[in-house]
């Protein structure tokens, strides 16, 4: 790859971005940074703008105002229209969608995993070999010729991961990686992420699952209706119950005692 004169120690830098859908404003003046090799979690309730931010970081949406930089270079629709830049960027940044049915659009698992490299014009022999290696790595080699609609939820997630990891990206963006998985598949997913990053890869995870926060992140951003409410280590965040309640991440249970008094009782699902 060409030497990048703008190379920075930051994987992503986001400055004061605003993103609006037709009627709703999803992100309001949001700023954040992610260092290279860092594991960052975006924590927030449904609809707080995490997914939108991930899509902006993946170069799929472009904010109406504000700037996004990847490795010191601006990321805009114009830049991504340029073929070489786009190829390099797609190679380095991978996004796993929340809904694996969206991500798995090919007729078989093999084709699914081969899709990315094919679009980036890798030589076909190399692709064939890499696909097989990746399938082995993810322990899904036996699913090779299966159609995605006949896979289980856990298998689908693995195929989705394989289809992105085959490009060996530096940055992995994950949208609710453990959503709709049974506990065992969830644990496997977390184990995999922990071992895969190995301190050199950047992993940005959007989640509302507080259980696994400490395992998958070094630093957290807490989202509250389109802007960042707080930033800190998982320990700091998890102890700030007021913050979590405001961000609608924990439910405060009200107990009514015999003598009629009522007091709130923060309830952490851990």
């Amino acid at each position: 790859m060409k030497e990048n004169p703008h190379a920075s120690h930051l994987a992503f830098e986001v400055r004061d971005i605003t993103y609006r859908y037709d009627q709703v404003t999803a992100l309001k003046g949001l700023s954040m940074t992610v260092k290279k090799g860092e594991r960052v979690a975006l924590v927030g309730a449904n609809g707080s703008g995490k997914s939108t931010l991930l899509r902006i970081l993946a170069g799929l949406y472009f904010p109406q105002s504000g700037d996004v930089f990847f490795d010191g270079q601006p990321l805009s629709a114009v830049d991504l229209d340029e073929e070489q830049f786009s190829f390099r960027f797609r190679r380095r940044v991978g996004l796993i969608f929340q809904n694996p049915d969206v991500q798995l659009f090919n007729p078989s698992v093999f084709d699914e995993v081969a899709f990315g490299p094919l679009q980036l014009n890798w030589p076909k022999d190399q692709i064939r070999q890499r696909v097989l290696e990746t399938l082995e790595l993810m322990e899904i080699a036996h699913l090779r010729d299966r159609p995605p609609h006949r896979l289980s939820g856990g298998e689908k997630k693995r195929v989705a991961l394989a289809s992105v990891l085959i490009l060996d990206p530096e940055v992995l963006l994950l949208d609710e990686p453990s959503a709709a998985l049974d506990p065992k598949s969830q644990a496997q997913m977390v184990d995999f992420l922990v071992s895969w990053s190995g301190g050199t890869k950047t992993v940005i995870t959007a989640t509302h699952d507080l259980d696994t926060l400490e395992d998958i992140a070094d630093r957290c951003y807490v989202f509250e209706s389109g802007s960042i409410a707080a930033e800190g280590t998982p320990i700091e965040i998890l102890h700030d119950v007021g913050l979590l309640e405001r961000a609608r991440l924990v439910r405060v249970q009200h107990h009514v005692h015999d003598h009629g008094a009522m007091h709130p009782h923060p309830h952490l699902h851990r």
């Binding site: 786009s86 969206v102 084709d111 990315g116 094919l118 076909k124 159609p147 609609h149």
Partner: protein, 638 residues
Amino acid sequence: MHIPDGYLSPSTCAVLYGAAAPFWYVALKRVKKLLHTRLVPLISVFGAFSFVVMMFNLPLPGGTTGHAVGMGIAAIVLGPWAAILSVSIALLIQAIFFGDGGITAIGANCFNMGIVGSLVAYAVYRLIGIKAELSSKRRVFAAGLAGYAGINAAALLAAIEFGIQPLLFRDASGTPLYAPYPLSISIPAMMLGHLTFAGLAELVITAGVVSYLQRADPGLLKFSAPDAPPTDECAQRYAGQTPWPTMRKLWLGLAAMLVLTPLGILAVGSAWGEWTAQDFADASARQQIAAASGNQLPPVHPPQGLERLSSVWTAPIARYAPSFIRSASFGYFVSAATGVGLIIVVCLLVRWLFKRQPEEGLITSSRRSRRFVERTVEGLLGAVERSIYAEQTARGRGFLQELDPRVKLCGLLGLIVAVAAVHRIWTLLALFAVSLILALTSRISIPALMTRVWIGVLAFTGMIALPAVFLTPGEAIYRLPLLHWPVTVQGLSSATFLLLRAEIASTLSILLILCTPWVQVLKSLRFFRVPVVCVVLLGMTYRYIFLLIQTAHDMFEARRARLVGTLHGPERRRLAAGSAGVLLGRSFQLTNEVHLAMQARGYRGDVHVMDDRNMRRSDWIRLSALLGVAILALWAGR
């Protein structure tokens, strides 16, 4: 209205493939330009939507149900060009995967339903809905009418295609080799069903979905309504559309074709097809003809093409048709009704003989208001079950399973073409034997073939073929007691032709389906130089059919769980149309998401796929063997 194999002559099929090709080409070009990078997910997901909507059982007035084709709603939401592609892709998958509609007739079916249906529906919608507000009642009305007109235009075309078969393709004895009825019968027979039930189903679904979208997601209606007064809502999803002027050329082409293809449609007399080619050479027949056509002698040689068909003359129908029948179409219905009863009895008997487990009393015991929901759910599950069954047999061991998919596709297609083209019954029987041997060596159980293919084809084609036994003019060899209907040699052999062709062709195509995993079918299409984009469209459509089936199934199950008491007709229709509307909204959402997912992995509008290994020598040998059989059959059955 899915024309099966064997109903149309190979040359008719070829002509219709030819007629469809320019439309597909232009549609692909235009859609690509309009939507560049979104083309693939958009067409695929909507193809899947159209496929699934064809499985919805719609309650119609009078307590019956019917299913729509979905070309009306596709044309309204996607515009005519993308609709052409979506519906065509859905039809293609029905033919090559679900065995619904013939493989040789894909061109015809796409032309009728996909192309003419979509274009007519779009034109009607634009015309009636002109300048109407997006939320106006007039748009709902226009949509209903558009669906109704679209499906009926398609049915009329199919009827014409059927009707010209006996005029053009007969053997020396005057036996019609393909669909046996002339236009005077085929048109009323087809249109009766479509002007009522099928047309109504299409009307209900199109109007219902548009009315649902007006409330739930009006943005989806904007594409086909550039003339609607602007609302304050978001900017147009597809800005700057002026589809009409640029389409004029193709509209003219279509209009010309509509006039030319049926050739003498203007000349349809009651006696169409009641003559044979020999009449032109036979002296006494010539006198008769002359007497019946204003004392003008017909030309000595059967005139070619247009001339032949438009040389109008009306022979008295009584000359050939059974004497009790004054009108051929009436005769058709009388004998069809008798035939249907007979066939149903036979089918029930065979089904009873081969039934493995007693059926649940679900349908019969449930209330009427639930029945259409049940039936839709059953249909959806049936499709999934069939796909699983096919996947299992395709992974089994057997002769066909071990063939290279390209050899299989090419070889079986060759055999199907041979089935459609041979003119001798014993050759057809030989081909049937070949297909049986293929099935046995591939470990496909004959009872399974019987219940899955033969009975269905027998019921459908038998119903159509039976009246031909009495209605085809010719030498009477037997008269039914009491009724005095004549059974003619020509009629008998014509009915046999139709039935055999349909049975053998469906057996061969089901063998292809049961012995080839879908992925491999797609791969082999690439080998035949089918454009990458088409292969990708097919693959993705097939994949999303199952997602949408799942969605639809869950939706109907949820409805079923909540249904209490009896729903009345209009409510049931609203429920069905509402479900289709929800599904449409989800489809659109899915399209956007899938497109993003593709982009995230480097997709930039051109898809690249893996092309697999070359053919080995043994593959070539097997291919030549299969094609050898086909060519032999063609030669022997000339």
